[in-house]
């Protein structure tokens, strides 16, 4: 190990944080998919694009 390297414990700790963040991201994605949020967003985008929001307002 050279003086500028970090020890394995640092790499392990960072990997743990990264894994937790990735898990949280995947968890949020799965939860939102279950709750139908992407479908809602897509529908909302479609309404904006077709100005549907204006006619139904």
């Amino acid at each position: 190990m050279t003086r500028t390297d970090v020890p394995p414990s640092y790499r392990n700790g960072r990997a743990l944080i990264a894994a937790a963040l990735t898990s949280a991201l995947i968890g949020c994605g799965l939860w939102s998919a279950t709750a139908g949020i992407p479908t809602d967003i897509l529908a909302w985008c479609e309404r904006i694009a077709t100005l549907g929001w204006f006619w139904t307002w």
Binding site: M1, R3, V6, S9, G13, A15, A24, C45
Partner: protein
């Protein structure tokens, strides 16, 4: 014109601006969040060159925000646990990186607009229902980045909290096990030179430690190798070497040093039961003979019971050989103890492994622990009557058990009563010249003055030269029991001294020893030099043979 302008923009506001704002917001949130995630990943992957790293050198320089047990002890040069400092620094780096990128994004946009000529700037101003999407995008990106950073901080805090909780439990468990071991086996390490008693030796890292200008030249030393922020189960030295993080695991694997004088401790010090027995008394009271016969007997008893015994250092080995020569009759005179340097003779007694049954072997291991180090301290008798010299005898402080040697021929009442009729015996006895009371009082006064609680210590009082004393008919029938010896001393005018002994010490027992008579050498026989040692070893839970009590 103004009314027409306003009327003309109303449909544009409805059909263009509001959709642009909505789309810019969504796109900004996604872009800001995504960019933050990428920046965080770069920091965690160590791809940010300007990131702050908490190094072993930083720890040694005091960069860790934790307090040490004592201010005089510096942090050891070792890498800290990731969650002890670097995790927080990484979070700071992530926040800084995202903040910097966000500021740069705003600044570059503003700078771009500022550097355009007036015609372009006017066109942008006039077309604000469309160009409003730019600041909306920037604001949404900033908010998205902040949301992701907040999420990273919360998740890191949760993970860090869980690691700290688990780590703290493990640290308490390992430290507690270490301390319980030392309390149960009474295994605090003692220095052979300065006699400092410590539960926490300094350990030497066996790795390569080249000179590093500007830092501690002895950065191979680990002064506090207990579990903590520098590692729970293992520690990584600045040189890269992995070290165990408890005294129990370090002893035997790493060389240990005294934390005060940095002298090498004996093998096993810190985990082996440590029995320290100073023998004190006036000059020519027979201390060295008492130690010689007691030590040779002790080694003989241990060996007879199948216990491995060895001197731990060359000086102890040489002295033990000298003692054996005297006991075997090959030599007659023991070398007089040096006044300059008190002598510590150390014998290591191992753990037997010859139990007939598994249960018995297990019991032997539990009782024996990691062996026993028995230190017998001998110092020149003149010093015990000298307040200044006695003050330097620190080995008395750390002992739980002490032996006070009394030369019966130096007691004034004995001299007055028996000397006229037994001049030859008194000549042979070479009686101590210093007063018995002075040698006790000066020594104990100094020990108590240093704040040592003698009431928690055991004192064996050994009346030496009994082989000569019994040549006087009036003393020949002196009983072997502690009460008999005490009564004899009290009868000969030492009652006030005996009261003081019993007032100062937790337990006091009286023995008489005839150390120059070979017939009196043997295990557990009354009158042997081993008898007081056996009692003191017994109070320290050391049994070298079958219990005879």
């Amino acid at each position: 014109v103004t009314i027409l302008y306003v009327i003309g923009w109303v449909p544009a506001l409805i059909f263009v601006t509001l959709p642009i704002i909505a789309i810019a917001t969504l796109a900004g949130l996604c872009a800001g969040g995504g960019a933050s995630a990428v920046l965080a990943a770069r920091v965690l992957a160590g791809r940010v060159p300007e990131a702050i790293v908490l190094t072993d050198g930083g720890v040694a320089a005091g960069a860790l925000p934790y307090r040490l047990r004592t201010r005089s002890v510096r942090w050891d040069r070792a890498w800290p646990h990731y969650f002890a400092g670097q995790a927080a620094l990484d979070l700071i780096d992530i926040v800084r990186a995202v903040d910097g990128r966000s500021r740069r994004m705003w600044r570059s946009t503003i700078d771009y607009l500022r550097t355009r000529d007036d015609r372009v700037r006017r066109a942008i101003r006039l077309s604000w229902p469309v160009t409003i999407g730019i600041p909306v995008f920037l604001a949404a990106a900033t908010v998205g980045a902040a949301i992701v950073v907040a999420g990273i901080v919360v998740i890191s805090a949760v993970i860090g909290g869980l690691v700290w909780l688990g780590g703290s439990i493990a640290v308490i468990a390992v430290r507690g096990t270490d301390r319980m071991w030392q309390l149960f086996y009474r295994s605090e390490a003692s220095c052979p030179i300065c006699f400092q008693v410590t539960p926490l030796p300094v350990f030497i890292c066996p790795g390569d430690h080249p000179d590093d200008p500007g830092t501690d030249p002895r950065w191979n030393l680990h002064r506090d190798l207990r579990p903590g922020v520098l590692g729970v189960f293992r520690r990584r030295c600045g040189c890269g070497q992995r070290l165990p993080t408890s005294v129990r695991r370090a002893v035997g694997r790493l060389p240990g040093l005294c934390p005060v004088c940095l002298i090498a401790l004996r093998s096993g010090a810190g985990v082996a039961r440590d029995v320290r027995i100073p023998v004190f008394g006036a000059k020519s009271a027979g201390k060295t003979h008492l130690i010689a016969y007691g030590l040779v007997s002790m080694v003989g008893v241990a060996q007879a019971n199948g216990l491995p015994v060895a001197a731990t250092d060359l000086r102890s080995l040489n002295r033990l050989q000298d003692f054996r020569s005297v006991v075997d009759g090959r030599e007659r005179i023991l070398q007089v103890t040096s006044r300059a340097q008190p002598e510590a003779l150390t014998i290591e007694i191992g753990v037997p492994t010859d139990g007939a049954t598994r249960r018995r072997r297990l019991r032997q291991r539990v009782e024996g622990g990691r062996g026993t180090l028995v230190h017998l301290f001998d110092a020149a008798g003149e010093a015990y009557a000298d307040r200044e010299a006695s003050a330097s005898f620190r080995f008395l402080d750390g002992a739980r058990t002490l032996v006070f040697a009394i030369d019966p021929f130096s007691i004034p009442a004995v001299r007055d009563r028996y000397r006229p009729g037994h001049l030859d015996v008194f000549d042979e006895a070479y009686a101590a010249s210093d007063s018995v009371e002075d040698s006790f009082d000066v020594t104990i006064h100094e020990v108590r003055r240093r704040g040592v609680q003698t009431s928690q210590k055991q004192l064996a009082v050994a009346v030496t030269k009994f082989d000569l004393l019994r040549k006087i008919p009036e003393c020949a029938n002196l009983g072997h029991q502690s009460g008999d010896v005490r009564a004899w001393l009290a009868f000969h005018g030492l009652e006030p001294l005996l009261f003081r002994m019993e007032a100062h010490f937790g337990t006091v027992r009286f023995f008489h020893t005839g150390v120059t008579d070979r017939l009196m050498l043997g295990p557990a026989r009354p009158g042997t030099a081993y008898a007081p040692l056996e009692w003191l070893l017994h109070t320290d839970r050391v049994r070298l043979g079958p219990d005879r009590r």
